[in-house]
C-alpha cells in the first residue's frame, strides 16, 4: 500500500475522512439553515393568499396596496378619509362580486392612474423597481460564488491541504 493509498484509505479507518466530513458539514450548515429558513418564509408568505382567505382579509390585503387618494403617504387601509372609505367600499363590493385582485386594481387605476397603487405594477417602466433588485440579488450570488471558488483554489488546488502538510501526515502515519 503506497503512502498515497494510506492517505485516501487510512489505516485507522474513518478518522481523517470523518474529520474532513465534519469540517465540510460545519462549513455548509449555516447555508443549509439559511436556505431552510428562506423556504419556510416563502411558504408562509405565499400562504396568505390561499383559498382560506376571508372576504375581510382579502379586502384588507388589497386596501394596504392602494394609496388613499386624498391623503399623503397613507393606504386606504390606514385612513378614514371619505375617499379612503369609498375605495374600501368599492374593494369590498368587487371582492364580494368575485372579481380578481388585478381587475380591482385596474379599475382604480382607470380613474386615478397607476399612482393609486402603492405596489408598482410588474410591467412598463415601473417594472424596473422589480427587475433591479432581482438582478442585483443574482449578481450578488454569482459574485459570492466566484469569490468563494477563487479563495478555495488559492488555498491549495481545491483539496484544502498543501503538499507540505500531506508529506508531514504521511510521515506521521508510517
Amino acid at each position: 500500500m503506497s503512502a498515497q493509498d494510506s492517505w485516501e484509505q487510512p489505516s485507522e479507518p474513518g478518522r481523517p475522512a470523518a474529520a474532513a466530513s465534519r469540517g465540510s458539514a460545519r462549513r455548509w450548515l449555516p447555508w443549509v439553515v439559511m436556505a431552510v429558513v428562506l423556504a419556510v418564509a416563502l411558504v408562509i408568505g405565499s400562504g396568505t393568499r390561499s383559498g382560506s382567505e376571508t372576504v375581510s382579509q382579502r379586502v384588507d390585503r388589497i386596501a394596504r396596496d392602494v394609496r388613499c387618494p386624498s391623503c399623503s403617504g397613507q393606504s386606504v387601509a390606514e385612513s378614514d378619509a371619505p375617499t379612503a372609505v369609498a375605495v374600501r367600499q368599492l374593494i369590498t363590493d368587487r371582492v364580494k362580486g368575485g372579481r380578481s385582485d388585478a381587475s380591482i386594481e385596474t379599475e382604480l387605476a382607470h380613474s386615478y392612474g397607476s399612482g393609486i397603487l402603492l405596489r408598482p405594477p410588474a410591467s412598463g417602466v415601473a417594472a424596473v423597481v422589480w427587475v433591479v433588485p432581482a438582478v442585483a440579488g443574482a449578481a450578488g450570488v454569482i459574485g459570492l460564488v466566484v469569490v468563494f471558488r477563487r479563495r478555495r483554489l488559492g488555498d491549495g488546488g481545491g483539496s484544502g491541504v498543501s503538499a507540505e502538510d500531506r508529506a508531514l501526515v504521511e510521515q506521521a502515519l508510517r
Binding site: T83, A86, V87, Q89, A109, S111, Y112
Partner: protein
C-alpha cells in the same frame, strides 16, 4: 458687479414668469379619463326629479364635485352661476353638481344660498367620485357633447377657465 447683474436678471425672470402665468385659482390637470367616455352620473336631483348625464348629450356638461364645508367651493360657486347663466339661452353647456362627502340637506342649503339653479345629485357611497378619480372638492370635469371627458380642473374654477376649455375643445373638434 457681474454677480449683482446676474442676480438681477434671475429675479427679473422670476417676476416675469410669476406675473405672466395664468391665474392659478384652478389648474387644468391630467386624468386617465381624458379622451374617454365620462362615467355615468345619475340619480335623483337634490331639488327633485331624475338626473342623468347621458341624457345631456349634445352639449358640454361641467360636472362639478363640491361640498358645503369646502371654502374653495364657496369661492367658485358664483363663477359657476355666471357660467351657467351665460350658456342658458344657447343651452350649449350645462352644470351638473355632485355632492362630495356632505349631507344632501347641507348641500341643498349651500346651493340655494348661492343661487345655483342646476341639478345636483347626492353620492352617498362616493362611488361616482371614485369613478372620476376625485381626490377632494372642488374638482370639475368638462364633458364634451359626444360624452368624452375633455378637461379636469382642480381647485376653484372661474367662468373664464371654463370658457377657455370649451373654446379649446371646440377647436379640437368636440
Amino acid at each position: 458687479m457681474t454677480a449683482a447683474l446676474a442676480v438681477a436678471v434671475v429675479v427679473g425672470a422670476l417676476v416675469a414668469v410669476l406675473a405672466t402665468r395664468p391665474s392659478a385659482s384652478s389648474t387644468t390637470t391630467a386624468s386617465p379619463l381624458l379622451g374617454k367616455p365620462a362615467p355615468e352620473v345619475s340619480g335623483p336631483a337634490l331639488t327633485g326629479g331624475p338626473v342623468d348625464l347621458s341624457s345631456l348629450r349634445g352639449r358640454f356638461v361641467v360636472v362639478n364635485f363640491f361640498a358645503s364645508w369646502c371654502p374653495p367651493c364657496q369661492v367658485e360657486e358664483p363663477e359657476l352661476v355666471q357660467f351657467a347663466f351665460q350658456h342658458r339661452a344657447a343651452d350649449d353647456a350645462r352644470v351638473l353638481g355632485v355632492v362630495f362627502a356632505d349631507s344632501s340637506a347641507s348641500a341643498a342649503r349651500f346651493l340655494a344660498s348661492t343661487g345655483a339653479v342646476w341639478a345636483s345629485v347626492a353620492d352617498p357611497g362616493g362611488q361616482v367620485a371614485l369613478a372620476y378619480g376625485v381626490r377632494g372638492p372642488p374638482e370639475t370635469f368638462v364633458v364634451a357633447p359626444d360624452g368624452r371627458v375633455v378637461a379636469r380642473l382642480l381647485g376653484a374654477v372661474k367662468a373664464t377657465d371654463l370658457e377657455q376649455v370649451l373654446s379649446r375643445a371646440r377647436a379640437e373638434g368636440a
